[in-house]
Symmetry: C2
Subunit: 223 residues, 2 copies
DNA sequence: CCATGAATTGACGAGCCTGTTAAATTTAAC
DNA sequence: GTTAAATTTAACAGGCTCGTCAATTCATGG
């Protein structure tokens, strides 16, 4: 059943095995197209035909591969989460002093959301569905442990060397970072419309990025 | 035309006036039911029949009143924004010292989002639609000025009496408050599923509320 | 009491979208 | 070259949802 492992599912090529046409490449392209479509229109709003059109294939083919709309959606979800986890894994913070490490984490997260609007919107969509699909995927739980662990290690180091105060909850800090970073992209439109300020303006975004890191650092620092 | 003003459209009940059928009461009930439905399933996902069922009327009647799905949605949007603005208006901060005033604003916002999940989810939905509907409503722009103004006054007072540092942008502060408060309800499900921590747990929520106020106050305070 | 116009309903038609099925087309192995 | 599995296509059937329209209630003013 492993949907994510499909990428490396090159079938060990048993003797009695017949034919690869372009299934692997197709699957990848479908997931990518589906990501855009789901992110743009939500689960119900997304159209299988639209996804098919974006990949120059047909709806029937997608169903042949994945089994149905819901399963395509799940594949996309696992794909994007795997992607961000992988990116986080390359952060390499161990040799940085705590404050610099936090700074890097916050800015990485902020930038990643900004550059991967599809991911963010997908998370929003999934929440609108009350996490119904996510709960079905066991892969998710192990998939997101690392970020918390690294964050916890940095905070512990900071407490140790006196740059941070004690009693900080890493999960809550991660939440604050995610909240500030996500809001910047998820609520762009209503905010811009209401306050007549283009939230996407270059300078503003850079300033906001700095503000978010400052907010987090001030929260962690000694009184 | 005025969709929102319909609430107070009680026809002055002249002596020779008997009750019509139930148009006013119906309209109110429809908006309420539509709020729930749109919040629960998004714009596309919401069903006019479902709304009708919740109000014991029919789809045709709703169209007779509002004109169509999109217009019902718009009426709901204006309704909830008017509601939160009104609640904010009752905050009465002028006589509080700056720090206490900020504390009240933050906690009010946090609590309001928590108690009005429908409102929050509607904002999310509208953002998923890239603010398409909001932009059509001129009412929105004037509707949300007050909160920024009051916040700006409190910050100015704080800068004046030395409790806050200078150079703070009220809009960005409001954004941070909104981000932290909203995330707490919008991302409940994915966060709970991924980190196996029930974000809704009583104690956690109260602690988080305190954390959010602390985050904001630390950001505003002198270095 | 009746005429009038607003409020309300039931039924209809059209559009979109999804999943399936059977047929056609490739491809690798033999 | 044949063959059989793996892909791909085209067409179908069923379901859901939306907006509209003509018909029907009902309170009210004359």
């Amino acid at each position: 059943m492993s949907l994510i492992s499909s990428a490396e599912a090159q079938p060990a090529r048993g003797a009695a095995m017949r034919k690869p046409k372009a299934p692997v490449a197709n699957r990848a392209r479908i997931v990518k197209a589906a990501l855009d479509e789901f992110a743009a229109r939500g689960f119900k709003g997304a159209s299988m035909d639209a996804i098919a059109a974006r990949t120059h294939t047909t709806r029937a083919l997608i169903n042949y591969y994945f089994g149905g709309k819901e399963q395509v959606y799940l594949a996309v979800l696992e794909h994007v989460y795997a992607e961000i986890r992988e990116a986080e894994g390359r952060l390499d913070l161990e040799h940085l002093p705590p404050v610099a490490a936090i700074r890097r984490i916050v800015q990485f997260t902020f930038d990643y959301y900004l550059a991967h609007e599809g991911f963010v919107r997908l998370v929003v969509t999934e929440n609108q569905a009350k996490g119904r699909h996510l709960k079905k995927s066991r892969a998710m739980r192990t998939l997101n442990r690392p970020i918390i662990d690294t964050l916890a290690r940095v905070i512990a180091r900071g407490e140790g060397d006196g740059s941070f105060r004690p009693g900080i909850d890493p999960v809550e800090v991660h939440m604050a970072i995610a909240a500030l970073g996500m809001f910047n992209v998820t609520n762009q439109h209503t905010f811009s419309a209401i306050f007549q300020r283009d939230m996407g303006a270059r300078g503003d975004v850079r300033r906001r990025r700095e503000m978010v890191t400052e907010i987090i650092l001030r929260y962690l620092s000694k009184p």
